[in-house]
Symmetry: C2
Subunit: 496 residues, 2 copies
């Protein structure tokens, strides 16, 4: 048996284990041919990737080291006696090999694969093999089985009686922070909307990152339940309640491969909503040349897949296509986006009209899940609740019960304005480049970093007039972002 030691080293999305090269009990070479080892003590076990250590100051011959993430998940104290074994291949590996050979998998096989993925039994390269062999060649029945399996493996929430509504945007358009306006409106109306959101993966801000500027978002399930009982709505971070552990693992491989297969996206979104106990969902698909979905035909195919899986799993869906041709609102990055959201909720005259209008449209569609409303009546109800200040009051109560943010997040003080190269009118703004600039500037890690759009599509601009302002908190980021923006602003300006 080896003594457990915490090694303060971490890698994103991977459990790390450390064994001394001079360990006499197990020799690291025994394990080298394998991707993962299994560490066990009492009834606990964890799979981790092995690293070999040649420095007794980091690890001694009678110790087994776990990196921060693995140590936390394993949950045993330092000094505990542990055993090490070669991790046996996941039992569902045969199903993955069948998929590699071009077969269609049955529900039982997909179930087993998803359970093993969620239990972290697969290496990243095995997951890549599964995703690549599945991408573009999944039968709709497989997508359905994948959705059901993913919904089952994580936490499952349930709510007292009646319909539980939600909205979800597939992403890809920066500044599109409508949830923080839709949820207060819908909760103020009286429907139950326990919203869980993600943090940014490749974007400069997720709803959870932006809400965190105003309130705590890492709530426990019990806190979430008590808040929803009182306020009908909440805006919390879904990662904390572990709704779809398999999805988190899949995303960690899709992201660096720039794979975003349609089938996987639908399974991911619907499984999370099922696990969260939703019964009715508005899905927002922005369509635009630099958005995730480029044209209406692609959007229609995606809509049909959503509807098929929704119908088969008992989730009532309303899939809407929206304008994804430019960023929404003005601010990109958590602090700037929170500013825009609060301007809309406070009915300030300079609130971004596109963010307001889009939020009212989506809130209206959600309200129409109420059988008492007729089609087309939702938006008016939404607008009244916004104009009356009811939505603002609802947001303020939700912030109060979630716990107002204790930190103050100032806007990044390193700023640079990016000027228009010519006089004319803004014809297009590239969503991808603006998002990347904001991310290089430090968003979402630095909540005050990002991009403030001073001009939107259709607005007139003089030569040298500022198109947008970059905000950063640290010099290295400021340099990365300004250099990237100098390469190409992301704006197309043309003479009238």
């Amino acid at each position: 048996m080896l003594k457990l030691r915490r090694v303060a080293i971490d890698a994103r999305h991977e459990n790390l284990a450390f064994l001394a090269r001079d360990c006499r009990q197990y020799r690291p070479e025994e394990f080298e041919a394998l991707e993962k080892i299994e560490i066990s003590a009492d009834n606990r076990r964890i799979l981790a990737i092995l690293n070999v250590v040649d420095d007794p100051a980091i690890l001694k011959g009678d110790e087994l080291g776990l990196g921060e993430r693995a140590f936390r998940h394993f949950g045993m104290p330092e000094g505990a006696l542990v055993e090490v074994a070669q991790a046996s291949p996941p039992q569902s590996l045969e199903a993955i090999h069948r998929k590699l050979a071009g077969h269609v998998l049955v529900e039982r096989e997909i179930d087993a694969v998803v359970r093993d993925i969620a239990a972290n039994r697969y290496s990243k390269i095995e997951i890549a093999a599964f995703l690549v062999s599945s991408a573009g060649s999944m039968a709709v029945e497989e997508v359905l089985a994948l959705t059901r399996a993913m919904a089952k493996v994580g936490t499952q929430l349930s709510w007292d009686g009646g319909r539980v509504v939600d909205k979800h945007c597939i992403g890809g358009v920066p500044g599109n922070r409508t949830s923080m306006i839709v949820v207060p409106i819908v909760a103020a109306y009286g429907l139950t909307i326990p919203k869980t959101s993600s943090r940014a993966i490749t974007s400069p801000a997720g709803t959870a990152d932006t809400m965190e500027v105003l309130a705590r978002v890492d709530l426990s399930i019990e806190e979430m339940r008590s808040i929803v009982r009182r306020e009908r709505g909440c805006l919390v971070w879904g990662g904390h309640v572990d709704l779809s552990p398999a999805d988190d693992v899949l995303i960690s491989v899709e992201r660096p491969l720039s794979l975003d297969p349609r089938e996987q996206m639908v399974a991911s979104i619907i499984s999370k909503k099922l696990a969260a106990g939703s019964t009715h969902l508005v899905v927002d698909i922005p369509v635009g040349p630099s958005a995730k979905v480029r044209d209406p035909e692609e959007a229609e195919r995606l809509r049909k897949l959503f509807e098929y899986v929704g119908a088969a799993t008992g989730l009532t869906l309303d899939v809407v296509l929206t304008d994804g041709t430019q960023p929404v609102g003005r601010g990109i990055g958590p602090v700037l986006e929170a500013r825009d959201v609060m301007k809309v909720l406070r009915n300030e005259p300079e609130a971004p009209p596109d963010l307001r209008e889009r939020s009212l449209f989506l809130a209206g569609r959600v309200l129409e899940f109420d059988p008492r409303l007729r089609a087309g009546e939702g938006r008016d109800h939404a607008e009244k609740l916004l104009a009356s200040g009811d939505a603002l009051a609802q947001m303020e109560r939700m912030i109060a019960v979630q716990g107002p943010s204790r930190a103050l997040y100032p806007l990044g003080q390193l700023t640079r304005e990016v000027p228009s190269p010519a006089r004319g009118r803004v014809k297009a703004i590239d969503c991808y480049r603006i998002a990347r600039t904001a991310r290089l500037a430090g968003a979402p890690t630095d909540k005050g970093a990002g991009v403030d759009l001073l001009k939107k599509v259709g607005e007139a601009v003089a030569e040298g007039e500022a198109l947008y302002r970059i905000h950063a908190c640290f010099p290295a980021d400021f340099k990365f972002a300004t250099e990237y923006a100098r390469g190409a602003s992301g704006y197309t300006v043309a003479p009238d």
Copy 2:
């Protein structure tokens, strides 16, 4: 700029980099969305996977750590000032995305992919994506382009005038150590056979592991050249002369995925032979139910692919199918296999007849590349050179010039005999299970570990009589191997 520090941690086949979480110049979060970072100083640069350190004893805020492997490759001293940047995606990534989308790649694209693989620009998951999208769906032209590209990126050897012969077995049958008998025979005959071999990847011994029991195998190219000039043959480790760096990277991903695509195998073998300067090659394809190639139809398809690529690259091929139904010889593991090889070369009466016969057959086919011999005459020449002791004398000279092994490798002293459950005759021996038992016992890391087969197919056995003996050097390995053998011996014994 950060100060370079060597961190005594290593992971197989991966460059590791370390950055302190409290590093003020770069923040680890900036890089988290990416798989690799690029570290540069002077004109050197290296790509590595980022780990984040929370312990100033391991790494301080003004330092950039490199793991052992990366530090060695980078080649700068500790304390050198280095810069860190996000690794830009390899330029050939677009070609991989085209392959993912089902396209056939052209030579220029495959060239670029192979160059980037060899330069370590890809992450393992990107390589997995490439392999999976290629496996079973590569056009023969793509296999040819892959072969040519792989042969070009590494070291290229050339030899003075005339034909340069070689033999290669695709593997999968334990104990199949014919090269160590074929090379001395062929060199004694007078043909040039500069043999480079691999170390074991998933098997209990590669030819390089077994030859190392007798002599040094990590020779420089210059040493190799001078030995071949004098002795016409050598038996060295190919990994040391870097003949196919791209192949090494591909194998590191194929192995844990248990992927062994035919196309990849052909490209790998032929590219290495081209790089090694061979002009004539005998390819040995063992066929058997537990070998790599299971049936004659599969063997024929493989033979045709070898012949297509060989013809197009100017390598003269003789592809032979051999018996792969059971292990060859008696010993499995470096010391035991070296014992069998030397028994054959010394013409000892108890030398394994199957190893002897197989080696003579293959040596005969190689000798027939000599235009002075007629088809069918090779084996007789080979047998004469073996029986006369010329082959043994040739092997002894090769050992002397390569440098006799300075270490003594004793046979593992922890032994257990695995008994037959019944009286009868051995009907079958599972190559895979026997190899795995030997590997669990410690081979090839411990050269004295392995399995000694006391009975072969067709031999009579009493109930309780030993089928094979396990040898191990360390208690943990001994336990792994004996427990595995207890689960199933790998032998089928049936009544006469």
